[in-house]
Symmetry: C2
Subunit: 219 residues, 2 copies
DNA sequence: ACCAAACCATACGGTCCCGTACGGAGGTCA
DNA sequence: TGACCTCCGTACGGGACCGTATGGTTTGGT
């Protein structure tokens, strides 16, 4: 929350979109209101309506920035991991918040999900989701699954991610944390990769051998 | 959407809560507004403020009704299936919308999830989620898993359900439907029950009571 | 120093909603 | 039939926002 800093500097459009994303994470789409934002930035609406035509223009800018900064960056980060199973595991760890960056890390995403029907939000969300599911499916293809099967697993992985984020947001006391969360990630990873070639890459495939993971879906 | 019916009947509190749930599914929590509701019911605020102290009282009543009608009824319906694996499968089919009751069936739930931080919504949601996860975990215990392991699977099943609902709501074009959806349910069921005893037939294998078997077969 | 553009404050009208005050229409029962 | 309690319509004040109009204040180029 960037409150009015000492120097009453002049504001740029960027300042407004940053504040908008901040408000989005805090108060949802309805929280992105011009007048409160102006107060928070130590300015008035006069400033805002110089930089933007209206509230929608601000939303468009904020959404574009969010869409740019997320997804691509996360995928790029994950791509630095060469081992494919470990990559999936890393992705899940990031998504499920093993590194404790949940509370506000994806607050914007939750807010967007909450107002997914909004005409400006919907397309941005659709692009991001499609990209993510597609990337996940690709991961399972690399693990040796047929495309259709891989897509199903990608879907499951993504919905599990979405639902987990929802659970953490709505009822954090019901979501696992700490060691239980790491165990949970192990479990989910194992189930998602069940029936997959061991892929003799190099080590670092930690935590397999959950007792009898031997399942194979019907052919 | 129950618009003013011909007879200008007098309204009961129940009429208002029903309309509130309707508005909740349509326009979210913010859609539950007294004045629009009054217009929709062909009445005015004067009526509303006779039956309820304020808007919050309406929300409390609506949430209570929703909480009562869901969860318990769904679980009771599922309990009519004696075979445990089939029961899990039926539950997933219901949750993932195989029977095509998604579009508005759980619109209220999505709206509540969207505003999970609201002080009145939060506890209701927490109770429902806890009950569902607990029931799912019990199912996996009946399938022969240890309690901790069963709880993790229950969590995965529930988050997958939540995420799927979210996906259908936000970007239906990315969610499976028809035959692909049935296939997806197969897949998820298989993965969730992997590493489980085949359980040769026979419904009540584990005589684990679980707070008494309630019987209210009402399909 | 000067000027034009960029930037911003103030003030205003409009919309949508909440909640209160109060009085009038219906039923109900003596 | 008339007193009376239920239920509801009308009217009002207030708050939170959006967007516009208008004129003032910086700022950078010359």
């Amino acid at each position: 929350m960037v409150v009015a800093q000492g120097k009453r500097r002049r504001l740029s459009a960027q300042d407004w979109t940053t504040a908008a994303l901040d408000a989005l994470a805090t108060g949802g789409l309805a929280g992105v209101a011009v007048e409160p934002l102006a107060v928070q930035l130590g300015a008035t609406k006069g400033s805002f309506y110089w930089h933007f035509a209206d509230r929608d223009a601000l939303l468009v800018a904020a959404l574009a920035q969010w869409e740019r900064e997320h997804t691509d960056d996360v995928i790029a980060l994950v791509e630095t991991e060469p081992d494919v199973p470990a990559r999936l595991r890393l992705l899940l760890s990031l998504g499920l918040g093993v590194f404790g960056d949940h509370p506000d890390g994806n607050g914007v995403e939750l807010a967007l999900l909450a107002t997914a029907r909004h005409p400006l939000v919907r397309p941005a969300l659709a692009r991001v989701s499609a990209r993510r599911i597609s990337y996940l499916a690709g991961l399972f293809v690399e693990l040796g699954l047929a495309p259709v099967e891989a897509h199903r697993r990608g879907l499951l992985a993504y919905t599990a991610y979405l639902g987990h984020a929802q659970l953490v947001h709505a009822t954090p006391e019901l979501a696992p944390s700490g060691a239980a969360l790491r165990r949970y990630v192990d479990e989910v990873t194992a189930m998602l990769t069940s029936g997959t070639e061991p892929l003799p890459n190099n080590g670092a495939t930690a935590a397999r051998d959950r007792r009898g993971r031997r399942g194979r879906p019907q052919p």
